[in-house]
């Protein structure tokens, strides 16, 4: 039966996927409950919106909205506290892992995630990132790496590629003076407190599905208490890259992915360990003091 009038979709907060909304109409896709109906402030073609949604879908599917606390520090995603329906905290630039640590230590039963960009996580918040990871804080970090500072208008990021032109590297990032990009997934995979690190992207349906799977696994890693988990999403910033969304995705495939290869960088369970702590113990097997059992 053909519809002549546009369907006003019902309140997604009440009607869920699979709900019958007309004689022959069933909702097959709806905004996740964990995502609010606030309008995103992201630019057209920005991948933040996709990743926000993936996080919300994972929260829905894991049934953890009521126990989740999200942390959004400074950057384009700073207003994520308006976009998610779980409890949210806005944090200072780079400090989300420390804030997440505070929340998680008070309420270990909560699921705590930080949603951070590259300037936030890999530059001003490097210390907080590295130390939350090495402490094995049972938190989940979603890391959006688009190789540029978006909110402030396109400055060079710690992950900007060599020769990448930005507002503060107008002649291209000169590695002799500005140094090299930071590969965060590789870096964090060396730390003992880390249970799971994967780098994904969202330039295609297949990659978006893989990204969601990784995000869900990262949350599950936290729920299971295995250790620190992080998903790095190689993302685009069409506005500050000065490209159309399509061209931005092509640039991402041509330049970003060779520098930041996708894949699992650490997965202690896949490596045959129960959790990060067990893997750490194995790595330190020749160190007597590290092998002492505190219960003794």
């Amino acid at each position: 039966m053909a519809k002549t009038n546009p369907v006003t979709l019902p309140d997604y907060q009440v009607e869920r996927i699979g709900a019958q909304i007309g004689a022959d109409e069933t909702i097959v896709s709806a905004r996740p409950h964990a995502l609010s109906d606030a309008i995103f402030n992201y630019c057209p073609g920005c991948t933040h919106g996709i990743v926000n949604r993936l996080v919300a879908e994972c929260i829905d599917e894991l049934g953890i909205e009521g126990t989740t606390v999200g942390i959004a520090p400074v950057g384009c995603s700073v207003m994520a506290y308006d976009f998610f329906n779980c409890d949210m905290i806005e944090a200072a630039h780079g400090r989300a892992p420390a804030v997440a640590t505070g929340v998680k230590r008070v309420h270990p039963e909560n699921v705590v995630f930080a949603y951070q960009g590259d300037g936030d996580l890999a530059s001003i918040g490097t210390a907080e990132t590295v130390h939350a990871a090495t402490r094995g804080e049972k938190i989940t970090v979603i890391f959006i790496n688009n190789a540029i500072y978006g909110m402030t208008g396109g400055q060079m990021a710690p992950t900007s590629l060599p020769n990448q032109v930005t507002q503060t590297s107008p002649y291209g990032r000169d590695v002799n003076s500005a140094g090299y990009p930071v590969r965060i997934s590789e870096l964090l995979s060396t730390l003992d407190g880390v249970a799971y690190v994967e780098r994904v992207t969202c330039d295609s349906t297949a990659h978006i599905r893989a990204a969601k799977k990784a995000i869900k696994k990262a949350f599950q890693t936290q729920i299971d208490g295995l250790g620190y988990s992080m998903v790095e999403v190689v993302a685009t910033c069409p506005t500050n890259w000065g490209m159309t969304p399509q061209a931005a995705f092509q640039w991402l495939r041509d330049n970003m992915l060779p520098y930041y290869p996708l894949g699992v960088y650490k997965d202690v369970v896949a490596d045959g360990y129960a959790n990060a702590a067990e893997a750490a113990l194995e790595r330190a097997k020749d160190c007597p003091i590290a092998q002492q059992n505190k219960e003794d």
Binding site: E90, R95, T101, V103, N110, H131
Partner: protein
């Protein structure tokens, strides 16, 4: 006499820094995030030993910056939480303190002051008075600042600090110094709070459990009007604090013509000097601010009403609180300053000499190379604004 014996039995000899830790736990604090620095070390060490035994969390953070942000997170999650540091470390905490104030997150920050600026020294100082009382970080805010002068007050004031922080949803500071932190004195510890009696925090971000709308802890307001409203609301709270929370000790101030104003370690020296001045027949008194913010301006009014003609601010710095004394005195009496800095403590004799100078109408000695501030009693000034005067 029986009561005295009983009280004596309950008193224990403890170090100031350790008392801060013990009394904080008794106030219901179960979370401590800090970073090592002299001279507050004993506080963190005591917490590290005790907190895990009572179901709490001690965490040595990677930096002061991280520590204060952990406090922000734990406070947002509804816990009684604290951090402690000393001057250079407190500078690093200023960012987080501003966010706590902006997002109305309670928490207690201890500063066991040492000399500055820069790395300064490790001896006692009061050189962070401005930093503490003029908002620790960026933005339009204040926070209650409590200044203990004895080990007993370390206990009493940190106990109070947690209540003030929760009641007014604000970071609250204990501004101690290396001398009070390091010294041992007998102390009666406050009773341990039953965690069930602590205030509930329906605003906390601890998961909505499907029982309420989501809570947001935030200090970002892109609408200027909304940010102004938020700041105005906060300043209404500050007015309540100003009206109800001024605390001070007055000693021999009923008929004092010369009032020495001093807090913390400096007040212990000033107390002796004032007694010595009285013994010499000088009508001196001591006004000891316990709250540095809100500043006890009502007490300044009172001693002026009682006949105070001259004020002498004695500090372990180059002259900071003296500005608050001048603001409170507002030209109704003369205000002088005497201070030592860098970790040097003045002797009671030094302070007495300044009181005697004031009594004889002579200028006080310059403070460590500075020139003497004007001690001539100024003419009464017209306190009306130009608008009120019709200009």
């Amino acid at each position: 006499m029986a009561d005295n014996t009983k009280a004596a039995e309950e008193r224990v000899l403890m170090k100031g820094n350790e008392v801060l830790a013990e009394a904080a736990m008794r106030a219901g604090c179960r979370f401590f995030f800090g970073y090592p620095i002299t001279p507050q070390t004993e506080l963190a060490a005591y917490m590290a030993k005790r907190l895990p035994k009572i179901g709490g969390t001690f965490l040595q953070a990677e930096s002061e910056v991280a520590a204060i942000n952990m406090v922000y997170g734990a406070g947002a999650a509804g816990a009684r939480v604290m951090t402690s540091s000393s001057s250079p470390g407190v500078s690093l905490k200023s960012e987080g303190a501003s966010y706590m104030a902006g997002a109305d997150v309670p928490g207690v920050i201890v500063n066991v002051m040492r000399g500055g600026p820069g790395l300064g020294g490790i001896q006692p100082s009061q050189s962070d008075y401005f930093q503490a009382t003029r908002a620790l970080g960026h933005g339009d805010y204040f926070m209650p600042v409590l200044a203990p002068s004895t080990v007993q007050e370390m206990a009493d004031l940190i106990y109070l600090a947690f209540d003030l922080a929760d009641e007014y949803r604000t970071p609250t500071m204990i501004l101690a110094d290396g001398m009070i932190g390091q010294m041992m004195e007998p102390v009666s510890l406050p009773p341990a709070r039953d965690p069930k009696t602590l205030p509930t925090k329906p605003w906390a971000t601890a998961g909505h459990k499907g029982e309420r709308a989501h809570n947001v802890i935030n200090s970002l307001y892109l609408s200027p009007e909304k940010l102004e409203d938020t700041n105005r609301e906060r300043f209404e709270r500050y007015e309540k604090i100003r009206a109800t929370q001024q605390r001070q000790e007055l000693m021999m101030c009923d008929d004092a013509e010369i009032v020495v104003v001093a807090f913390g370690a400096a007040s212990r020296i000033a107390r002796t000097a004032v007694r010595d001045a009285r013994a010499k027949g000088i009508k001196a008194g001591l006004l000891r601010p316990i709250t540095l913010w809100p500043y006890p301006t009502d007490a300044i009014d009172k001693v002026i009403d009682n006949g105070a003609k001259r004020f002498l601010s004695v500090e372990l710095n180059m002259g900071q609180m003296v500005e608050d004394v001048r603001l409170a005195v507002a030209g109704r009496a003369s205000v002088d300053f005497y201070g030592r800095t860098g970790g040097v403590l003045p002797t009671p004799e030094e302070v007495l000499a300044q009181i005697e100078a004031l009594a004889e109408g002579r200028p006080v000695a310059p403070s460590a190379g500075g020139s003497a501030t004007g001690s001539v009693l100024p003419a009464p000034i017209d306190r009306k604004s130009s608008y009120e005067r019709g200009e």
